[in-house]
């Protein structure tokens, strides 16, 4: 009789997934993964979600991972299955999302022969994964899967790919359990640098114009890190701003929250960054969307940077204090130090600083006027937020103007409730991502705030949504333009709208109907209120086609090549002329 640890490679992989806590796997079958699908068929614990495109499998796993803090899991076939997954993997790498991607491969003896559906998957995915493996020896298989999970979820999280040749999946193997072992020289020991933390605490307590700038690292460090960051903000009574990736780590309702910073951040957040004397960056990476022109970035400040990835420190901006480690651990130590420091002496008064900030706040940079019958996209998001505030709501977005409006006008009071493609800027991210979020949170409200162009990039996933009866709400801000492209063409290229208008859009209501789900067309402001109510109260999936002002621009904005203090509030602003250097930037 067969020992229950004797099995084939495919069964061992599935068992290892189970041991590592996988409950859901997003995938698409094909020739090179048939043994794995056979093993899944026999497995009772892991649920497979069949997507309609491999890119969507990865985005769905990202949505799952980002809304739960767990490792997402993907299974795709060799060749085109693997190459289709590449965009998703790059997206996960840029946004530090922990994923395991299993790819099928042709049998080992055919590798290198240009076999059917063969691709050099480990070669192609090397720069877009945290690590990858090609399994050539079945005896190493179990350990590789276990190690992959450790790598994906430790340090700065990221995607790990395991390429599994078909003969390996079919070879016999004795299953080995996960052993916590360190076979590596301990790198990046992440010992908390208490001496530096103590100096940093002094600098923060004595700051006259402090600003705290939090990013995705706070979210990745778990909900406790968000609580600690909020505690730090309250302790110092310092203003806090968050990056696109960090939204939710401090509640939008916190009185010290200045809104998002950066290219489409608020006036007060960017001016506070520019004029501060001490900047504390927690888990953000001085991305070019945030810093604007580097030689004019926050010229008067001492800078402190907390990041788990040592290579993020001094990469773009030279800082005065670098602290390498998990945001939660460092924030905890820092909060303790600041409490001690505050006992010794009173806080430096920062009321003058708040006076300045309130002046900037009074500019009301997010103001807009809803006049006439045409819906302003900002109004649509604002109303959506007001109507969902009291419900546990998860938002995913695609990429473009609607994404920025969602970041500006939707309020996030908790971490892990906001899933957007920040680093890579992947159009088509939101719909599949919402699949993963809804699978993880079946009873919550999941809304994909979308643009009509982005929606078209992965709309095949409607089929997935219908198959699993996922009550995802797709809220399309439809302006018939690739809005952000159009805006840049208006600002930087003399309104020469080259190829940014979509001629043949579907009737989204009929499209919904063809999938047997509800479609709503909203073309006037008077209908918006009822439509949102109807969308929320509908049990199943909904496509809401919100026809918005076609040529609305996303403001405020730091034009490319400009600095924080050179931001423009509307297209009539005098600073709209972008420099030649600026036009060359993305």
């Amino acid at each position: 009789m067969k020992n229950n640890l004797e099995m084939n490679g495919a069964e061992a992989v599935i068992k290892a997934l189970e041991e590592n806590g996988v409950e859901i796997i997003f995938g698409y079958p094909g020739g090179a993964v048939l043994p794995l699908y056979d093993a899944l068929f026999k497995n009772k614990k892991i649920k497979h979600i069949l997507v309609r495109h491999e890119q969507a499998a990865v985005h769905a796993a990202e949505g799952y991972a980002r809304s739960t803090g767990k490792v997402g899991c993907v299974l795709v076939t060799s060749g085109p299955g693997a190459t289709n997954a590449i965009t998703g993997l790059t997206d996960a790498l840029m946004d530090s999302v922990p994923l395991i991607c299993l790819t099928g491969q042709v049998p080992t003896h055919l590798i290198g022969t240009d076999a059917f559906q063969e691709a050099d998957t480990t070669g192609i995915s090397r720069p877009c994964t945290k690590h990858n493996y090609l399994v050539k020896n079945v005896d190493l298989l179990c350990n590789i899967v276990h190690e992959a999970f450790s790598i994906a979820s430790s340090g700065r999280p990221g995607p790990v790919l395991i390429d599994l040749p078909k003969d390996i999946q079919l070879s016999n193997v004795t299953y080995t359990n996960k052993i916590i072992k360190t076979n590596k020289v301990k790198k990046n020991k992440n010992l908390i640098d208490l001496a530096t933390i103590s100096s940093v605490a002094k600098v923060l307590v004595n700051a006259k114009k402090p600003i705290i700038y939090g990013g995705g690292g706070v979210i990745n460090a778990g909900p406790e890190a968000s609580t600690l960051l909020t505690e730090l903000v309250d302790l110092l009574n310092a203003p806090v701003t968050l990056t696109l990736m960090g939204l939710g780590s401090v509640s939008n309702e916190n009185k010290n929250f200045l809104g998002m910073l950066g290219m489409h951040g608020t006036y007060e957040a960017n001016l506070a960054m520019h004029n501060c004397d001490v900047m504390l960056n927690v888990g953000a990476r001085f991305d070019d969307r945030v810093t604007g022109r580097l030689n004019a970035f926050s010229p008067f400040s001492k800078k402190i940077h907390i990041d788990i990835d040592k290579s993020s420190i001094n990469k773009i901006i030279s800082v005065d204090y670098g602290l390498v480690g998990d945001a939660k651990d460092i924030l905890y130590a820092l909060v303790q130090e600041i409490k001690k420091e505050k006992k010794k002496k009173n806080n430096t008064s920062i009321s003058d600083w708040w006076f300045d900030i309130n002046e900037w706040r009074n500019k009301k940079s997010l103001n807009f006027e809803q006049k006439g019958r045409i819906i302003k996209p900002q109004q649509a998001i604002k109303l959506l937020y007001e109507k969902t505030k009291k419900i546990d709501t998860y938002i995913t977005t695609e990429v473009g103007q609607h994404q920025m409006w969602a970041a500006q006008y939707f309020g996030f009071s908790k971490p892990n409730h906001w899933m957007t493609s920040g680093g890579l800027g992947t159009m088509g991210y939101g719909l599949p991502s919402s699949v993963g979020v809804q699978i993880a949170h079946p009873n919550s409200l999941v809304i994909d705030i979308s643009g009509e162009a982005s929606f078209l990039m992965n709309m095949q996933e409607l089929s997935t949504i219908v198959q699993y009866n996922l009550p995802v709400k797709i809220f399309i801000l439809n302006n018939q333009w690739m809005g952000m492209v159009r805006q840049w063409q208006e600002l930087n290229h003399g309104s020469r709208y080259s190829e940014s208008y979509t001629e043949s859009l579907p009737d989204f209501v009929l499209l919904a109907k063809s999938f047997g789900i509800k479609g709503l067309l909203v073309s006037e402001i008077s209908e918006l209120d009822n439509a949102i109510d109807e969308m929320i109260s509908t049990k199943g999936p909904v496509i809401a086609d919100i026809r918005v002002e076609k040529e609305e621009n996303c403001f405020p904005m730091i034009p490319s090549g400009a600095a924080h203090n050179e931001m423009i509030l509307s297209s009539s602003d005098s600073n709209t002329n972008v420099s030649q250097d600026g036009i060359a930037l993305v």
Binding site: T122, G123, R126, P127, K130, H131, N132, L134, I151, R156, K181, T182, N183, K184, V185, K186, K187, N188, D288, T291, G292, R293, L294, N295, D309, K310, S311, I313, N314, K315, I316, I317, S318, G561, D581, L585, V586
Partner: protein
């Protein structure tokens, strides 16, 4: 460096010799090289061979150029790679030895042959192959010395050159044994 203007530290680039201990497994070298090409860093010289057959570890000696900020980035990025165990900056650490091996073929006639042998002798080059119209010399030493020798040979006739690139090690009694012992023998 970002797409925006550089930090303008006015610091000149300098040459650095790095010494890496990595797993000898398929793809490791591709990861190291891919990091340099993907992020736009330079590799001036690179040598790699297994140095520990029980643990399957290789040493990569690597010469690169950059400002100190760039070099710090290179080192941090190298350490992020899973099969990279150790990254040492020999230039920064203190005195070290770097050495290279070169094979130089010279095709020459008459008096130039005599001159070539005399120069080879001065440089302590070994003669590995002789025909009536050619020599193959073997020379080890610092890259500058090899450059000088090659320059002289080139003025004596047609040459063909093969160089290994720099291999480097720190001076003194300190070794990496303690650190490498943390890595399990497979």
């Amino acid at each position: 460096m970002s797409v925006y203007q550089s930090n303008n530290l006015n610091e000149k680039e300098s040459s650095r010799t790095l010494s890496l201990i990595v797993d000898n497994e398929p793809g490791t070298l591709a990861r190291v090289i891919g990091l340099f090409s993907g992020r736009g860093y330079n590799i001036e010289s690179l040598t790699v061979t297994e140095v520990d057959d029980r643990r399957h570890l290789s040493r990569i000696s690597l010469v690169t150029r950059g400002t100190s900020m760039t070099i710090e980035q290179i080192k941090s990025h190298l350490l992020r790679l899973v099969p990279v165990h150790l990254v040492r900056d020999l230039t920064l650490e203190g005195p070290f030895i770097e050495c290279e091996l070169a094979l130089i073929k010279l095709v020459a006639k008459g008096a130039n042959r005599v001159e070539a042998l005399r120069i080879a002798d001065t440089f302590r080059a070994k003669t590995l192959d002789v025909t009536l119209s050619s020599f193959v010399f073997e020379l080890t030493g610092r890259p500058h010395k090899i450059d000088a020798f090659i320059g002289l040979m080139q003025s004596l006739g047609d040459t063909e050159i093969s160089r290994t690139g720099v291999s480097a090690i720190s001076r003194g009694s300190e070794t990496e044994t303690k650190i490498l012992e943390q890595i399990k023998v497979n």
